[in-house]
Amino acid sequence: MSLRAAAKAYPALLRVGFASAVAYRAEFLIWMFSTNMPLIMLALWAAVARSGPVGTYTQAGFAAYYLCTLLVRLLSGSWVVWELTMEIRQGTLAMRLLRPLHPLLAYSAENLAAVPLRGIVAIPVMSILLWTARQQLGHDAVLWLMLVPAMLGAWLLTFLVMALIGTLALYVESAASLFEAWLGISAVMSGYLVPLDLFPKAVQQVALVLPFRFLLSFPVELMLGKPGRVEALALLGAQWTYVAVALVATNLVWRAGLRRYSAYGG
């Protein structure tokens, strides 16, 4: 299908996606408020840091880190893996495949359209962050500018990894379990539970080259002004390389998977 036609349809997809998010507002708010792990981790680490800094993190440092983490998590979250695996199992993916629009583009619009509604939680978090942790935030405007593509990259990478694993449901029945495993590793290696620079050096070396960092830690690092401009640019390049790789891989797995798509009798 042509990209021009998809681009033309995308605003309508976003509009309908937003209407759906509003229709599911209660469920949506519950999901957002249940995304509270960074706040739990903040309470834990703040208690540990009471007697002195942990690594480079003071109590205020932890507060800034976990509030940034919560903000990035709220704005980059996606749920396509659950929807995709369910629709493949139930055969309802067929209805999407009949339309002249790539189903992954439709899913992406539905997921993106929920971002404005997330503002309901994200804006207060942002306000608290700016007020309480202003000393801890980065002051380089260039890094803040880089945050825009870094957030988009984080969202895209999250979405594409979810789409890739969800697409595996065309091959195996346990794709959702596979994603649970990914989620477990990701919670540790993306900096969601613990800042990556608190890990032992060897683990850090591994974490810094894996894709998980670019899902969450990298935008947080930019907000905290941790990398220099040159390093930040290199990291942005690495993040978007991962996005490109994920895009190609998802597309390949999707195309091969459709050949196997059977939805027998359903």
Partner: protein, 328 residues
């Protein structure tokens, strides 16, 4: 328009016996079995034809429709719809077809149908004037006024099906694949849907391929039927000819002014049922004329009707015959 040549579609399914032991064994060993859903079928459908696809559950009807609409890749064989290879799912192909499945929906569940309409307008890139005209026509043909603004989840099954049909036809497809479009609907709604499908076919010259378990759908809509059983195409022709071949006998319905003896009726043909005021006889084609003449001359007949046997009976007999032949 539609060309199917030696189409085959098989699946591999895992086999496992019930019980804990079998569950544990399946952790290391899962035998696979090939299921031939469609096995070497060929047919052609001309533009504007209405064709009924008949067969028992699991015969391969839905699989064939899914291959024709590009959802499934054939295992082997050649399929062409409007000059396109369906499994390539080109935009031009998808713009020309629609598949309505009675048990699946494309309407957004929590939003009014009008939202799905607008979404499809954008996806299919339908010009505004054409969209408005089509919506107006569909609203009139299907009686959608008042339904398009209600959330889908609050519509009745019949109302939802009408909206499903409308949203599937907004882009004015030239080929309609309809899989059990009247399933679960009451008799009035079935008739409405049938009337609509016929009207759409006549208005746009669209080709219709329909599967249904309701024989009335097929009888009312499809001058031609394809019968598929165990993945094989066992009949391709008119419904009348199919009935004649499978059940060459006719049913004679007699309304009587007074009760008659059963043996008097049995002289005319096989007695299917009898009450004081009515009797139903099964009579072969060759003996029909004589039987009717004798009935009128010898019995107190108030009214006499000659009918084909019910389609359900014909199909049951056809598939039973197929099953027996398959087992033999």
């Amino acid at each position: 328009m539609i060309e199917v040549e030696r189409l085959r579609k098989s699946y591999f399914v895992h086999r496992r016996a019930p019980g804990l032991r079998a569950a544990l064994r399946s952790l290391v060993y899962r035998p696979r079995e090939e299921v031939k859903a469609v096995d070497d079928i060929s047919f052609q459908v001309k533009a504007g034809e209405r064709v009924g696809f008949l067969g028992p559950n699991g015969a391969g009807k839905t699989t064939t429709l899914k291959v024709l609409s590009g959802l499934l890749h054939p295992t082997s064989g050649r399929v062409s719809v409007s000059g396109h290879t369906p499994q390539k799912r080109s935009r031009e192909f998808l713009q020309q077809i629609t598949l309505v499945m009675g048990q699946k929906q494309q309407l957004l569940w929590d939003l009014p149908p009008s939202e799905t309409f607008l979404l499809n307008r954008a996806i299919y890139d339908i010009p505004r004037a054409q969209y408005e005209q089509t919506v107006a026509e569909l609203t009139e043909l299907l009686g959608l006024a008042g339904l398009l603004g209600k959330p889908t989840r609050q519509l009745s099954l019949g109302e939802r099906m009408k909206c499903e049909l409308a949203v599937a036809l907004l882009h004015q497809p030239r080929v309609l694949f309809l899989d059990e479009p009247t399933i679960g609907l009451d008799v009035t709604m079935q008739a409405t849907v049938r009337g609509f499908i016929r009207a759409y076919n006549e208005r746009f010259g669209a080709t219709v391929l329909l599967t249904s378990h309701y024989m009335d759908d097929v009888a009312a809509l499809c001058p031609r039927v394809l019968v598929i059983d165990h993945g094989h195409l066992i009949y391709d022709g008119s419904l009348t000819e199919l009935v004649r071949r499978v059940r060459p006998d006719k049913r004679v319905l007699l309304r009587l002014s007074r009760p008659v003896e059963a043996r008097d009726l049995q002289r005319l043909g096989t007695l299917v049922s009898q009450t004081d005021a009515q009797a139903v006889l099964q009579v072969s084609q060759t003996e029909l004329q004589g039987a009717v003449q004798r009935a009128l001359a010898q019995l107190p007949v108030v009214d006499l009707t000659v009918e084909d046997p019910p389609l359900e009976d014909v199909m049951r007999e056809l598939f039973q015959r197929g099953a027996t032949e398959g087992a033999a």
